[in-house]
Amino acid sequence: MMQPFPFSAIVGQEEMKLAMILTAIDASIGGVLVFGDRGTGKSTAVRALAALLPPITAIKGCPINSASAKNVPAWANLKTKRTHETPTPVVDLPLGATEDRVTGALDIEKALTKGEKAFQPGLLARANRGYLYIDEVNLLEDHIVDLLLDVAQSGENVVEREGLSIRHPARFVLVGSGNPEEGELRPQLLDRFGLSVEVASPKDVATRVDVIKRRDAFENDYAAFMLRWQAEDAAIRDRILTARAALTKLKTSDKTLTDVAELCLALGSDGLRGELTLLKAARAYAAWRDDTALTRAHVKAVAPMALRHRLRRDPLDEAGSGTRVARTVEEVLG
């Protein structure tokens, strides 16, 4: 398959790119939600992310991409213990996917031809240790959303159907995109996303021309274009790996912790998830910037994307929640 559009070649959309990089540095931040109009490059960015991510080491042929042989589930019937480097899985969850396809089900092929009761893993198995991408996430059917919520919560997929009783790890980072004009997202699912960004088409003509030029070059002069951006993509990948290593050594002062707590209190965001995400995102951002200590500036930089989708909806507030976060950040952190 053709490599997707290079991540580094995406014009503008800095916030979206940063949010994606942060989750690549620390997967426990918990995914990105990208909301915006049609034709703003949401899907392009998500697919570009897949090519950018550093590869993972996994047991060859393991349906859940296990890191070591002892994690390979018994139902996989794997003989080999060899590992190989494989791209970080980015699995598409198509709208209207059946529960069977998402969670996995009885392997009808084996059942019919061999009379075996075997498990056919679903999308959740394939997404383990990687990314689960849902385009038009706000149009996802409720029963699939419920299922996702459950799995995302526990990190484990439990299949009890057709006489099967199977469980396997399913830890993945959710990436969703959607157009808010087409429907809202349930708060429970909204909350599962670590960060959220809003994208819009660039407003000035010069930037728009840039977008078109690069896209055109990508489509018509593919080889040269990929070569041109390969190095820049690699540079970002290296920086992500460096940042991952630096994350553990990063110092966090109590003062910054207080900042984070005060900010979340002032915004009245529900639960502690907001605080934790904000802290993690700020730390990832500091690591990305190659700073050794977490400061107030880091918190300020990532606060909007970590908190804007966690605010209690206030239908009487005319300004968007992004504005509200920005205002409160200004008030609390100065």
């Binding site: 209207g96 059942a111 149009l139």
Partner: protein, 543 residues
């Protein structure tokens, strides 16, 4: 004009044939000879899709009959696995899910082109915008008759790669798209491709002004969201048109075609009722798609796990489920009976089940008349907004009707989008008479449409009750009250649920009567705050 439309349609198809990356074309026309003539131009090996195409047909799956007959697994290739042209019939009925899947397929590779045959009759009944966005072209053949059809000469095109793109073309196209209020970045890209394909079609190696003009017309006209001000024509005599005939002598990398001229070309194609169409488009965006009765009948809906059962009236067998149930026993049964082949016993039979939950639609019918505006419009707005937040949590749909002056207006067709509703509500002005009956009529129309779509509508009327404008627009208090009563009886006969919320300072007896006629809950709310109002409504709705 109609002849021009035909010309554009055939040209679009030709360009699409040259460059599949243009995505496709949406042909809006009812089935008929004109459309048949156009679709006859499509390659004969095009695969046909229908709006209810299953995932297995799209992505491939088990070929059950072949598998059973041969005894080993035979897979059927999906439509999206083979390359080529796809023809989607009755495209206006394509669900959001199908649109999203096809959109992904079109995004992924340039191996597919999609011809969407949109047979929608109503303005809001049309191809899903998500999909339309990914198709470069759109033609409307509704006004085309057989007389308008001219034969297209077969052309021999040169290779697309040989076409040289002038350096400033990208900028020009981007600027024009911007001037026409086209936000999506796909449009200028498509225009660029179309210009290149048109040059290739004409056997040229350089893109000329003519190519650009055609590209702009074909790509931008139906995407435009605003008509650029024709300043030049209004204030001063038009600038002499640049000489287009000598473009072959012009500099290689520059086009002597001012933006104004291209905008003019697009404007010529813009429909007269652009703004009306825009409103319809916005409305559509909220609803997602124009599929008719999405949740009608008891044989559709969210599929539930199938259940063991007997084949009785109308029950549908879940074949896969049945086979799954039978599969583990095949070896045992084969050994027991000594018979080859598939062994299915009656207790393996699984019956399909569906759960159907009708979505609720709350139609807020808000009185924005002068009397209301003075007193409680702000409060009513607040109440509606709080209700909206609750409706959103329950995944209800909402619609917004306002009545003031002499008529009612549908501010927002059924949607789940809080963003849009908030925007429309905030912009609601107040003032004028109280055409209560007109408001009820509009709400009723929405209710009927909603029922047709399988939703359960509830009309919430927020007014202070002093209806003073009759249905015909005349200021006749007596007739207005009669009209309101009349509509109320129709509503009741139709079985539409309603709530009447009296926002007046004192309870209005006329409104209580109206509620009785409607068989509706009546909530007099003297000095209610928004919070209390919403609680009462929630109670009345039975949550």
């Amino acid at each position: 004009m109609a002849n021009e439309v035909w010309h554009h349609a055939t040209r679009a198809l030709q360009l699409l044939g040259l460059d599949p990356a243009l995505g496709g074309i949406c042909i809006r026309a009812r089935s008929g000879p004109v459309r048949a003539r156009l679709t006859a131009m499509i390659t004969s090996d095009a695969r046909r899709l229908h709006p209810t195409v299953s995932d297995e047909a799209l992505f491939g799956g088990l070929d059950l009959s072949a598998t059973l007959a041969s005894g080993h697994m035979i897979r059927e290739k999906g439509l999206l696995e083979t390359t080529g042209t796809l023809v989607l019939a009755m495209a206006e009925r394509a669900t959001t899910g199908l649109a999203a899947r096809l959109a992904v397929a079109l995004d992924r590779n340039a191996d597919h082109t999609l011809i969407a045959l949109d047979e929608g009759a109503e303005p809001d009944e049309c191809l899903n915008p998500k999909l339309a966005e990914r198709l470069a072209f759109r033609v409307d053949l509704s006004d085309c008759s057989l007389q308008d059809i001219t034969e297209t000469r077969p052309t021999t095109a040169i290779d697309l790669n040989h076409v040289i793109v002038p350096a400033d073309l990208i900028e020009q196209l981007t600027r024009i798209a911007h001037d026409l209020g086209i936000d999506s970045m796909r449009a200028p890209l498509f225009a660029l491709r179309a210009a290149r394909a048109n040059a290739a079609l004409m056997g040229r190696t350089t893109i000329t002004a003519e190519d650009v003009e055609i590209a702009c017309t074909l790509i931008f006209a139906h995407r435009a969201t605003r008509v650029p001000e024709p300043e030049m024509q209004d204030e001063e005599p038009p600038a002499p048109p640049p000489d287009q005939s000598d473009d072959s002598n012009g500099p290689e990398d520059s086009l002597d075609l001012p933006d104004e001229l291209l905008l003019e070309a697009v404007r010529a194609m813009l429909p007269d009722n652009l703004l009306e169409q825009l409103a319809a488009q916005k409305a559509r965006a909220g609803r997602g798609n124009g599929t008719g009765a999405a949740r009608k009948g008891n044989r559709r809906g969210r599929p539930l796990p199938s259940r063991a059962g007997r084949i009785s009236d109308g029950a549908r067998i879940d074949i896969i489920g049945t086979l799954r149930a039978a599969a583990p026993w095949q070896t045992i049964r084969r050994n027991a009976t000594g018979r080859e082949g598939l062994h299915i016993r009656p207790d393996d039979i699984r019956i399909k089940r569906f759960e159907e939950k009708s979505d609720r639609l709350l139609i807020f019918t808000v009185d924005a008349s002068g009397s209301s505006a003075l007193t409680r419009l702000a409060e009513a707005k607040g109440a509606v907004e709080i209700l909206l937040a609750q409706a959103y949590a329950r995944r209800d749909h909402v619609a917004l009707v306002a009545f003031r002056g002499t008529e009612a207006e549908l501010l927002l067709p059924p949607t789940r989008s809080l963003v849009q509703t908030k925007r429309r509500l905030a912009a609601l002005p107040g003032g004028g008479g109280t055409p209560l009956a007109a408001g009820m009529v509009t709400a009723f129309e929405q209710a009927i449409q909603a029922t047709r779509r399988g939703m359960t509508p509830t009309i919430a009327i927020l007014t202070d009750g002093r209806a003073n404008i009759a249905l015909d627009g005349s200021a006749d208090r007596k007739q207005a009250a009669l009209d309101a009563q009349q509509i109320a009886r129709v509503l009741r006969a139709h079985g539409t649920d309603a709530i009447v919320i009296d926002t007046g300072n004192r309870p209005e007896p006329a409104l209580r009567n109206l509620a009785q006629t409607l068989d509706a809950a009546y909530l007099p709310l003297p000095r209610a705050d928004a919070e209390r109002l919403s609680k009462s409504v929630a109670t009345a709705l039975g949550d």
